[in-house]
């Protein structure tokens, strides 16, 4: 790399750009570093060499392990020199090299000497270097000095110790926590930055102790914190305390709000802004609380400093999402920012205005935006397009001017992401605003006439195939579609053929004309295009007389494909070519949930002997494989669903047992996964005695015991029950593990001949409604909702009583129903008072279910919910309501 640099510089001789590092080369500099070993040290020269080494590192050059070690040892020699400037460079170099543990020992004594030096600058720097490179053992030795340093009268030394403490807290918390008293003293320091660092460290030490943090905030908000940075910290901690206590107080009567509000009158801008931002982010903030914060932010909007304008407009933009009316006061200042030199500020201003604007200002705004679109970057354009989309959803009557705007920018130059955002917006508008459909589709048609992105062309063709036939004059779109067959690449041509076929299938008058076009496609140069044309001609009856296309064919060709592709892939891989054709219905529809639970609790894993069974095969298809290997289950039919394992024992008990519930149409199979965690025992003839007295609709039909269960090798017991067909039968089962214990000599591994009968009580097991629902997502909820129709719609309202939060209520209901949340609606935005959640799934008996939940806060904490179910079966719709009513 250095070599290249030299060459490059040689090439550009004529520019004659002088640099002290021109032609610098690593090997040469490493040679120069030998001066560090001279008996008579030349401090100036040594400093220069270190600078060169640092320059190389800074430019991204790397040293090999040996090179680094050599440099490090050479540098340590320089501690002999008394030159202060050189010492500073030595500190820097040591930090840059970050020596290994055995090398650190070499410099430790030198650094410890410097830590006790009379010279403050040495003390401060030595502390920072030592703490950077040290490990836990050394830290105990120097702890005493660090504690002293924290309360040192020189602020630089104190800060160095405090900041090092903040870093060390991550690796050696138990040591740093012992410094609380000193840190507390430093919080009272007169030096601004010491106060800041001390406060930061003190909070870090106590952050897991809510009460202590609350006390800290209470005492400091009353006192005087001098440093603006420390004040910013205090504001953050205050809002943390408010957040954590927030649930028990009425809005408007918030503790510490007065403190935040008083910070709005601070003399430092960073404190004012921090406080304003904290207020806008308060949970469930009221308009009255917001007003003073908005007022100071409004002042910032007309500041001469871009940073202040940006900070203010960005915060107001966020507020506009939840409290648009509170921000309208700033609209005049905001409008003047549209022409701001800084495009980030201008974009944020525009999007804020789009959020807060009223219907009458839309046209004027659009005009201003049109002028400014040409000179902003694509990513800002996307932000604007998204803002316009939401504006259009807010003011459907204005669709004409907004749609015009979108089609205009669609014609201009732009990258893929930008064009995609525009197309997506138009598609959404077409879906949501019926009046906009025809113009929107024509805009899209025009766009694909000259579209360089294959992905977008095919997406639009697909969309045209769905929406086009439903318009008043479908024939006008055929020309655009057929042009694609002539002018585009194979992917787009294939898409166009499918679209043509959809028109043919949906509109009978067009059928003969579409067949003519499709027949022409039979001569295409691409296989896929020809194949599609042939398929469509055959299935739609294009080879002979014009026939009414039946529903089955339509469903087959254009219906939704609701099988997860991953599952289909595994099933196809498992399929052995044979006489029997591949049955698509056998593919499980359950969406595999991400292994979140595993990620969440890596630290919770019990160690040692008590380790739970290391996960029997957990995915649906491996269950299927296990179950089908047992002949008794063969006639149960297809597996509908397997639950997540439910633990029936506490962690760290003698025997670890969990159960998986396998649901079939007329049967339920419990798979007990057992692990023996006692090395001295061998269990034999292990069975589970299941008492179904509280589940009388079930009757036991089969039980498969486990012959032997040696130490630490999991085994499975199966118990099967019969139940009424296709009905979500509920019940509670109590379980007892019965077995014969034989003592094992751990040394030899041999078991005693005599066994003793014993039993072990397990926890109860419930069959709940969620066991009968499958999480199956739909890609477009709205379409699915409409296609399922209102025939078996059931709607009712429920009061859920006081809840911790809206999000908690939403989650509870989702878990209760065991359905798949769609389109990200399981996420409740903060501060919202209402939320709509869309769920989809399949009920036992393979019946599709869609659920629309509308939540609203009723009073301070009571949650009310409206539940609307659509399904393919009346009883299922009722069953869903029953689940909620009884849950």
């Amino acid at each position: 790399m250095a070599q290249q640099l030299v060459k490059k510089d040689d090439d550009r001789d004529d520019e004659a750009e002088y640099s002290p590092f021109m032609g610098i080369e690593k090997g040469a500099v490493l040679q120069e570093a030998r001066v560090f070993n001279d008996p008579q040290l030349d401090a100036r020269r040594c400093s220069q060499v270190i600078t060169k080494l640092l320059y190389l590192l800074n430019q991204g050059e790397t040293f090999t392990k040996t090179e680094a070690t050599e440099v490090f040892f050479a540098v340590t020699k320089l501690f002999q020199s008394k030159d202060m400037g050189l010492r500073r460079m030595v500190y820097l170099m040591i930090k840059e090299i970050s020596p290994s543990a055995d090398e650190v020992i070499i410099v430790t004594s030198s650094l410890m000497k410097d830590m006790n030096s009379k010279i403050d600058m040495y003390r401060a720097n030595a502390i920072r270097v030592l703490c950077r490179i040290t490990d836990g053992t050394l830290l105990a030795q120097i702890e005493r000095y660090l504690k002293q340093a924290i309360v040192d009268k020189n602020p630089v030394v104190a800060s160095a110790a405090l900041v090092s403490g903040i870093h060390l807290l991550q690796t050696n918390p138990e040591i740093v926590k012992r410094w609380s008293n000193e840190v507390q003293e430093a919080v009272q320091s007169r030096a601004a930055l010491v106060q800041f660092h001390a406060l930061g460290l003190l909070h870090q030490i106590r952050q897991n102790d809510r009460l202590a943090v609350s006390k800290l905030v209470t005492s400091l908000t009353r006192g005087t914190v001098r440093s603006p940075l420390a004040q910013c910290l205090l504001i953050r901690y205050t809002s943390q305390v408010i957040r954590e206590s927030g649930n028990n107080t009425q809005p408007g009567d918030r503790p510490f709000y007065d403190y935040l509000e008083s910070c709005l009158r601070h003399k430092s801008e960073m404190v004012i802004f921090e406080a304003a931002r904290a207020i806008t982010e308060l949970n469930g903030v009221t308009t009255r609380e917001l007003t003073p914060a908005i007022t100071v932010l409004q002042l910032f909007l007309s500041s001469s400093k871009p940073v202040l304008r940006f900070a203010a407009v960005r915060t107001l933009n966020k507020v506009a999402m939840t409290h648009p009316t509170s921000v309208t006061n700033c609209n005049i200042d905001m409008e003047s920012l549209i022409s701001d030199q800084n495009r980030s500020i201008a974009t944020l201003a525009i999007t804020t205005l789009l959020k807060t604007g009223n219907e009458s200002s839309v046209d004027r705004l659009m005009k201003q935006i049109t002028n400014f679109m040409s000179d902003i970057a694509d990513e800002f354009k996307i932000v604007v397009v998204e803002a316009i989309r939401s504006l259009c959803q807010k003011f459907p009557l204005k669709y004409r001017s907004l749609m015009n705007f979108l089609s205009n920018i669609l014609r201009e130059e732009g990258g893929f992401e930008y064009k995609k955002a525009i197309v997506d917006s138009i598609v959404i508008l077409i879906r949501e605003i019926p009046d906009a459909k025809e113009t929107g589709l024509l805009h899209l048609c025009e766009f694909i006439e000259d579209c360089e992105f294959t992905y977008l062309s095919t997406q639009i063709l697909h969309f045209l195939g769905i929406e086009g036939p439903k318009t008043s004059d479908p024939s006008r779109y055929i020309r655009f579609v057929y042009n694609r067959v002539h002018l585009e690449n194979a992917t787009v041509r294939a898409g166009a053929v499918s679209t043509l076929a959809k028109f043919g299938a949906a509109v009978d008058e067009l059928k003969p004309r579409v067949f003519v076009l499709l027949r022409r496609c039979l001569f295409d140069s691409d296989d896929e295009v020809r194949d599609r044309a042939t398929l469509y001609l055959n299935t739609l009856g294009g080879d002979g007389s014009v026939v009414e296309t039946d529903k089955a064919v339509k469903d087959f060709l254009f219906g939704t494909f609701d099988i997860p592709l991953v599952n289909l892939e595994t099933s196809l891989k498992n399929y052995v070519p044979s006489e029997e054709a591949f049955d698509i219905d056998s593919v499980p529809k359950e969406v595999k949930s991400q292994p979140l639970a595993e990620k969440k609790a890596p630290g919770k894993k019990p160690t040692g002997l008590g380790a739970p069974p290391s996960g029997p095969p957990s995915t649906a298809d491996s269950y299927q494989r296990v179950l089908s290997s047992i002949p008794e289950f063969a006639n149960f039919g297809n597996l509908f669903k397997s639950s997540e394992p439910v633990e029936l024992t506490e962690a760290e008990t003698e025997y670890a047992v969990n159960v998986v519930k396998h649901i079939f149409d007329r049967h339920v199979v419990f798979q007990y996964n057992c692990t023996n965690t006692i090395p001295e025992q061998l269990l034999e003839n292990v069975i589970v005695i299941v008492d179904n007295s509280e589940a009388d609709e079930f009757s036991e039909v089969f039980s498969r015991p486990l012959k032997s269960l040696p130490y630490d090798s999991p085994g499975q017991i199966f118990v099967a029950f019969e139940k009424p067909e296709g009905v979500p039968t509920l019940g509670k089962f109590s379980n007892v593990l019965k077995f014969i214990v034989r003592e094992v000599d751990p040394a030899t591994g041999e078991a005693d001949d005599d066994g003793v009968e014993d039993e072990y009580q397990l926890e109860d097991l419930d069959i709940v409604s969620a066991d009968y629902t499958l999480k199956v997502g739909v890609s477009n909820f709205r379409n699915a909702w409409e296609s399922i129709g209102p025939d078996y719609e059931r709607e009712d309202e429920y009061g859920l009583g006081p809840r911790e939060s809206l999000a908690e209520a939403v989650n509870t209901v989702i878990n209760l129903l065991g359905l798949q949340p769609c389109e990200g609606t399981e996420v409740v935005p903060p501060n919202s008072r209402s939320h709509t959640c869309l769920l989809s799934g399949v009920f036992i008996g393979n019946i599709k279910v869609l659920v629309r939940l509308s939540f609203g806060l009723d009073g301070p904490k009571d949650v009310a919910m409206k539940l609307t179910v659509r399904s393919e079966d009346e009883t299922v719709s009722d069953a869903i309501h029953e689940i909620v009513a009884s849950g």
Partner: protein, 195 residues
């Protein structure tokens, strides 16, 4: 809200744990008028390799090149990072922080860096002077931020810490009060001028 809180925590855990509450700096960059490094310092591991660092520098440099950041520090939001920047002759100064950082705190760090460099280079803020005094620039970076934590934001104080090879307890205190007084006066003056 809960969701937001977790997202926030997760993001920080891979960065600095203390950043949950303390303002923190991701990097400070000093580039020349072609976007090449003069001196850079990274504090976060968002950019683990040298090539990712170079790519980031190039990206930031080209995105900000056309703006006029010579009188006032400018600001932008790129790839979920806030970048505050200021240009002087053929030098481009940048400070990067995460997107939920207080912009004004970040700006104060940039201002401190810029003021200190101006003092250290005796008002000749250009690439040649900076490279000739690279040791001072590197020490300056070292005195502003330590592992992401802000150490000092007052330019004259930073410059003094870099150059003072002879501070001892007594003189530094008096000297410091003097510089501080000067800094406050200067700040006051700028503020009144701007109003």
């Amino acid at each position: 809200m809960e969701f937001l809180a977790t997202r926030r925590c997760l993001k920080y855990i891979c960065f600095f744990v203390f950043a949950v509450s303390c303002p923190s700096i991701k990097n400070i960059l000093l580039l020349d008028s072609e976007g090449k490094r003069v001196a850079v310092k990274y504090f976060s591991d968002d950019w683990p390799t040298n090539s990712s660092k170079l790519a980031f520098e190039k990206f930031v440099f080209t995105k900000t090149l056309k703006t006029n950041a010579r009188t006032e520090a400018e600001i932008t939001l790129l790839e979920n990072n806030i970048i505050i920047y200021k240009f002087a002759q053929d030098l481009h100064f940048f400070v990067t922080g995460s997107d939920d950082e207080n912009e004004i705190v970040l700006a104060s760090v940039l201002q401190g860096f810029f003021d200190a460099v101006t003092l250290l280079l005796r008002n000749n803020v250009d690439k040649r002077e900076a490279l000739e005094n690279l040791d001072l620039i590197l020490l300056c970076l070292d005195e502003i931020v330590d592992g992401g934590m802000i150490l000092e934001t007052n330019g004259p104080l930073i410059a003094e810490k870099v150059t003072s090879h002879t501070i001892d307890a007594d003189s530094s205190l008096s000297e410091q009060t003097l510089t501080q007084a000067w800094a406050t006066a200067r700040e006051h003056l700028t503020r009144t001028l701007l109003k």
